[in-house]
Amino acid sequence: MRTWIAGHNPGLPVSSTEDEYWARQAEWHTALYDAGFFGLSWPSRFGGHDLPAVFDVILDEELAAAGAPPRPSLGYLVQGITTHASEAVQQRFLPGLISGRERWCQGFSEPDAGSDLASLRTTATRDGDEYVLHGHKIWTSYSDVADWCFLLARTDPDVPKHKGLSAFAVPMRQRGIEQYPLRMINGITREFGQVVFDGARVPAENMIGKPGEGWRIAMTIVSHEREPGEVGYVARYMKTVKDLEATVRAEPGAFRSDQHRAVAWAYVQAEMLRLHVRRRLSERLDGLDHGPGGSIDKILMTWVEQTVGAAALSVAGSRAVVGGDDVALRIYLYSRAQSVMGGTSQIQKNIIATRILGLPAA
């Protein structure tokens, strides 16, 4: 693995902070897959390797050590499909998802359904062998390059809000889909997709799980999306920390003591998260299902990302402000989204308080 990474590091920017990463992410995904390093813990009949999840972590740690980009993070979609979809749906979609030959986005949030996801209003109405879609999705990462959308839509308006939702694999290259991507505060244009469905169609056989199971499926996905081991972000944080360390080490005297301290603390945080991922994976060997524990992991991951982002800003100093270090500025600005995406930190703390600490719901 080390030898291969050394020879194939594409030298991409730190992921997610620049459009170039996303333009070339598909290449990186297929390169990893073709070399046999992607999907190590996923089923071999769909292109994975049937190994324990710890192998994904070995990959993450080696990518981090080499300063290579992290693996594309789509484990939560794989988990959603393997946990809930029929065998036929798994066979149809998992190989393309895992190999990177087919690209996916995730259509959950809507302009009026953010933290209150279950109130979403996109409808899927049965019409013969198909469902017809109407609605507006937002924060649909990379929807403009996606072949498929893992869509959550209301199929039954007459039952309580959590019970009327279903999940679909929606083909994105068709009429009736319009894209209005939003620009993030760091200038990225690719990540915050916005999609309007206006009469687009999805075959009924593309439903993931059964009608009305959409909420349960969404919860499987978001709980995995909250796990740093699942999304492989440790490699991303460690790469930034190593870059910052190299910058300071080249001339320590050129930096103030608070800048040294910021980098050292970012290292402590990133190292903590690396060890935390190892512990979570070890626990999973006992078959422990994380459930609300994913919210703790998400908070830890957020603290790490924002500590690392602040350290990047600190080390760059005025260069981040007057135009000499755009990378540091982008890393810092991007880090502010981490306490919102995948469920805000406030929502995570509500979950921890009520479902882990056993405090009464507010």
């Binding site: 190590l40 060997l285 600490l357």
Partner: protein
């Protein structure tokens, strides 16, 4: 690439760098026993700290369980148990703010073992006044005041000091009498004044090297971190229970999101601290000494900061009562202060990590 995967799997299974952090069945049993014992015999109220019948039963239980001997040497010089087992007990005792010497005697036994000599019963290690390093005494008597930390017995206390010899150190003992002092009401510290004679420990078969002291300090960092993890868990349990029972505006204060979020953040800090603290406890017997010590520094930096935050949250959630002597939360906070300072607080660890990773010297050698 099945070939690659198979090879790696086998290597990983045989490797001592195995990433499995779960307790073995024996460790899980030890954890259950230690937590039960600490809960039963530890103080539940501040007034219990004056109940010497109870604290002597606790000390006797820890002694008769054999826990003070975990770092004694076997015939070939290896410790009887790994750093992981010692950390399990430190964690359990911290969780119950158990007023019994454990880490002190364990560190003394580990240091004596590294010098190739049996530990003197009841001895602890003397520390420099900043509590960071084992005390070094160049002459025949102490030349500055030093500190015996976490000793077990009443009456005279024997404390190991390091005497420079060639390119290493030999062990000597300084004995002192007097009252204990310090912020922590659950563990004893006694100052050994300047001018106390130090007596070379007979029968030492090895000189303590830099590596020995690094590995020993890694154990100290791991155990003080484990103690912090335990006490954070203990004080959070106390605080969550209080938030469920204390009513204002006609409802439990744990109903309010402002209180819930403080407690939720504390819970996250504990999980992070736990993950960070496990690594040096394992590393102390498995990695090169300087790597183990660096792992200990990461754990300690994280745990020290987390412990203070979590204990301060506990005081806040308890409101006015949390600021009174008879409320148990300050017992946890005080213990956190000693566990943080012992082997260096987060500022010291970060300073050392800056030296190691960034080449910043701050006048350090």
């Amino acid at each position: 690439m099945p070939g690659f995967c198979k090879v790696t799997l086998i290597c990983d299974k045989d490797s001592s760098h195995l990433m499995d952090t779960r307790d073995t069945p024996e460790q899980a049993e030890l954890r259950r026993t230690a937590r039960r014992l600490a809960r039963e015999l530890g103080p539940r109220r501040v007034a219990d700290l004056d109940d010497h019948t109870r604290s002597e039963r606790l000390a006797e239980a820890v002694r008769s369980a054999g826990w003070l001997e975990l770092r004694h040497g076997t015939a070939d010089g290896d410790p009887l148990a790994s750093g992981v087992e010692a950390a399990i007990i430190a964690d359990a005792l911290g969780e119950a703010v158990a007023d019994v010497a454990f880490v002190g005697p364990i560190l003394a036994a580990d240091l004596a073992r590294r010098a190739g000599v049996g530990a003197v019963d009841g001895a602890v290690v003397a520390f420099s006044p900043d509590l960071i390093d084992a005390a070094v005494v160049p002459g025949a008597a102490t030349n500055t005041p030093i500190l015996a930390v976490d000793y077990a017995i009443h009456g005279p206390v024997a404390a190991y000091v390091l005497v420079p010899e060639g390119d290493g150190y030999q062990l000597a003992l300084a004995e002192t009498d007097g009252a204990s002092s310090g912020a922590d009401l659950t563990r004893r510290i006694r100052s050994i004044p300047a001018g106390v004679p130090v007596v070379r420990v007979p029968g030492q078969s090895r000189r303590l090297s830099r590596d020995d002291l690094d590995a020993w300090a890694a154990l100290g960092l791991a155990l003080t971190s484990a103690d912090a993890v335990g006490l954070m868990r203990g004080v959070l349990d106390v605080s969550v229970a209080y938030a469920q029972e204390r009513k204002q505006y006609g409802v439990a204060i744990g109903t309010f999101q402002a209180v819930q979020h403080l407690l939720a953040e504390a819970r996250c800090l504990i999980e992070g601290a736990c993950s960070a603290a496990q690594y040096p406890a394992w590393a102390v017997d498995q990695l090169a000494p300087d790597e183990a010590r660096a792992a200990g520094r990461v754990a300690k930096a994280y745990c020290a900061r987390a412990a203070r935050t979590v204990c301060e949250t506990a005081v806040q959630v308890h409101g006015g009562i949390g600021n009174t002597w008879d409320c148990i939360v300050h017992i946890y906070l005080r213990r956190a202060l000693l566990s943080s300072q012992w082997f260096g607080d987060e500022g010291e660890q970060l300073r050392q990590l800056e030296r190691r990773r960034l080449g910043v010297t701050y006048g350090l050698p």
